[in-house]
Symmetry: C2
Subunit: 205 residues, 2 copies
Amino acid sequence: MLPDLRDKRVLDLGCGFGWHCRYAREQHARLAIGVDLSENMLEQARAMTNDSEIKYIRHAIEDIDFKAGEFDIVISSLALHYVEQFDIICKKIYGFLAPGGTFVLSVEHPVFTALESQDWYYSPQGERLHWPVDGYHHEGLRRTSFLSNNVVKYHRTVATHMNALIEAGFTIRKVSEPQPSEELLAGNPDMQDETRRPFLLRSQQ
Amino acid sequence: MLPDLRDKRVLDLGCGFGWHCRYAREQHARLAIGVDLSENMLEQARAMTNDSEIKYIRHAIEDIDFKAGEFDIVISSLALHYVEQFDIICKKIYGFLAPGGTFVLSVEHPVFTALESQDWYYSPQGERLHWPVDGYHHEGLRRTSFLSNNVVKYHRTVATHMNALIEAGFTIRKVSEPQPSEELLAGNPDMQDETRRPFLLRSQQ
């Protein structure tokens, strides 16, 4: 869903190991700035990066501050469900973008984040019966775990995501709830379950 | 979610008993045309209507044909999940609207339509455990029942709805997944379950 990156100034919010920053430069972006809160991830990002036009900044996404119109493209991949105030972030991002700029966003899907269990509902035999949804309209904090670590996320509805983007000034150009490709499905039968419920909500604006 | 209706030319697709047509005229719309396939519903709509500026037309929504720019507002409330080709309808509606016109849409929510059962998942004691989602990415026909009648609906994802509107030319201005008001909740404890999963997807464009 990324637009043409050539000569573009790119900001990646929640850059992790810096994959999108390096990809942007491979696609001939003019510069890329990655922001993440995790010093551990940024250290690894720096170790994997040899490019003076990529900068990594340790910062909470909520507190970022750049000049108006400083970027042409803002990317945030699977990071903003960790941020409490999505509406404020959207307004900030809109301000950082030059006219005609693009924001490409993905978050865990509201169907995925509604319940803290964030897991299938199983039969007594361990079969995945369906994906359970509950508390959809109760937005806010969800305490989950990932690889035995406690993780705090924020659940927001589809409408809340869309309206925050629109109210920040964005025009939504494309929405996507990606599912595995045919190739991936062919090679990984387990992936079939990924067609049973949406996992990601992506949008370009 | 309806805009100001004064002096507006209004089309209601899936008008049923004509409630929106009469409401539009009460709000001083210039005229209202209601389209529905059910002669039974239209008969009742006509019996409840005494207004020469409201017309009811029996037609499948798929086959509607009006002049370009003939309407200022198109409404479709809980009808388009019965229509197979949502993208084609969106393009038609965009064409019928005058510049600056508005399309207000509501459909059953994709979380609601994904499974044919369209019901809660119950405990052996009859408690509503959660709302089950499955087959979300398998769009298309769903055979359900309503008041002992067989009903055919079409399940589409959130992304498919949004992108069909955008590709037809619309700019999405607001998205809503309405839930019962505080007053309704206070008077009807059963309504509390309506906060547990989205039932409607509404958008204004």
